[in-house]
């Protein structure tokens, strides 16, 4: 080819982040290759809780509040575009969502978190309301007596995240995005419009490189003068058999999927072995869920799993371009389901143009880790 390279952009990692970005780049007519590990790779994108979640995001980094709100507002457009391109309905719904408090103590904690979030200078208005038991009951008549109340945010929603993943990959076919599984990248060299990526099936050359390899970004980023300090953790999720729709709002730890299963989640452990699974944690989560909705006791559990979260050291996203190796980008975040439209519609065009818009994503540079860090994301 003209410039002695086959691709405009090589995206390293084919999880939700890499796929959203590759899809966004493909829409712009870029020639894109996605280099991914094989089927047995650990992917947060296959293990998540599928919330498009707003209400507590951004404590410690107000820029993250508007970034999250923007995603909630554009999810519908992403879902509609994917459906037009692939015929797949990813079941995005935004009825608003709840965080329920069991007992007065949890209610107080909630009030406190919301107040701190609200009082941050520069934070977006999430229109989150704190409701008492009667207030919650008006919207969800089936709550149990132990629910002291909860917070409701109209911007919260959920989606079928596995279907999103599938839709993005289906769309690759139409766009000509070259998806290559079993192409783990082990080394990256080059610069200035010709990056060389080493895989066990040979070398790939691309004008730009985007690191979207989840927690593996920590290891890949220094190869191109970037940094991505990660602190992954683990979450467990419990799933019930399918039931007729009865949970009409997604909640932080409870939601009913479009196909009827009830998902109960999601714990947080400082452990990164996703083959281990701790039954007492499932029991505790299920117990809380039944106290919130006593009816749940009638359902059988059919599955449970553990997943490793892609987590930066302060919990906020990292979007950066290398100063020493222009054209090399790193992209990683928790909440990759929520932020998928931003990655497809905002970050992808920035990468195509070669400049990350400072005004929009400047706050998410990994340079912040050189400064004293703020609070963790919720």
């Amino acid at each position: 080819m003209g410039l002695g390279r086959e691709y405009d952009v090589a995206v390293v990692g084919g999880g939700l982040l890499g796929s959203s970005l590759a899809w966004g780049l493909g829409r712009l007519g870029q020639r894109v290759v996605v280099l991914d590990e094989g089927d047995i790779a650990k992917r947060a994108s296959r293990a998540n809780f599928a919330l498009v979640w707003v209400q507590t995001k951004g404590l410690g980094l107000p820029e993250y509040t508007s970034w999250t709100l923007r995603a909630s507002e554009t999810w519908e457009q992403l879902a509609a575009t994917l459906e037009t391109e692939t015929g797949l309905d990813v079941c995005f719904r935004r009825p608003g969502g709840f965080h329920l408090a069991l007992g007065d103590r949890e209610m107080e904690l909630r009030r406190d978190v919301l107040a701190r979030l609200h009082n941050q200078p520069g934070a977006a208005d999430y229109r989150t309301e704190l409701l008492d038991h009667a207030g919650v009951r008006k919207m969800m008549p089936e709550i149990g007596p132990e629910v002291a109340g909860g917070s409701y945010c109209p911007y919260d929603g959920h989606v079928n995240s596995l279907r999103v993943f599938r839709a993005l990959h289906t769309a690759f076919g139409h766009q000509g995005v070259d998806y290559r599984p079993d192409h783990a990248v082990t080394a990256i060299s080059g610069n200035n419009g010709a990056f060389h990526l080493t895989t066990r099936h040979g070398e790939i050359v691309a004008g730009k490189v985007v690191l979207a390899a989840g927690n593996a970004n920590a290891m890949l980023a220094p190869m191109v003068g970037l940094s991505a300090p990660m602190e992954p953790n683990r979450g467990q999720i419990v799933v019930t058999e399918r039931a007729a729709p009865f949970l009409h709002f997604p909640m932080t730890t409870l939601r009913q999927s479009d196909e009827g299963t009830v998902m109960i989640g999601d714990s947080k452990e400082d452990e990164i072995d996703d083959r281990a699974h701790h039954m007492p944690i499932d029991v505790m989560m299920a117990n809380r869920a039944v106290r919130m909705f006593p009816k749940l006791a009638a359902l059988n559990v059919v599955r449970a799993w553990s997943g490793i979260r892609v987590m930066t050291r302060d919990g906020f996203p990292i979007y950066d371009q290398s100063e020493s190796h222009p054209g090399a980008f790193v992209v990683c975040c928790h909440s990759g389901v929520t932020l998928a439209p931003n990655h497809a519609f905002d970050i992808a065009p920035m990468i195509a143009s070669g400049v990350l818009d400072e005004a929009v994503v400047g706050a998410f540079s990994a340079r912040r880790f050189a400064r004293p860090s703020g609070e963790r994301a919720a």
Partner: protein
């Protein structure tokens, strides 16, 4: 269509299928009793709504799911009938009482 193999010392029990009394043979599975009952026993799957009846009879295919004594989605081929058992055929997703 299905007939039980004759047996001299078979002991029969009564179960209920969607409220209809059905005679079953002690020792057989709920799925076998349903197939032998002559009733229309196809369940409807929760997502596609397609009809399914017991198939493998050995715990592998999950096509025999039924509600037994109020507990949903049990594999009928792995549960032995008992006198007084109440079975209901699942049509789509179960509504929670």
């Amino acid at each position: 269509m299905f007939r039980r193999i004759a047996s001299a010392n078979a002991e029969m029990v009564m179960i209920e299928v969607d409220g209809v009394p059905v005679t079953a043979r002690r020792g057989e599975s709920v799925a076998a009793a349903l197939l032998a009952s002559g009733l229309s026993i196809a369940r409807e799957t929760p997502v596609g709504g397609v009809p399914r009846t017991p198939y493998c009879m050995m715990g592998v295919c999950f096509d025999c799911l039924v509600t037994i004594d109020g507990i949903g989605s049990r594999q009928g081929c792995l549960v032995s009938v008992e006198d007084g058992m109440r079975v209901s055929i699942q049509k789509g997703r179960r509504a929670l009482a």
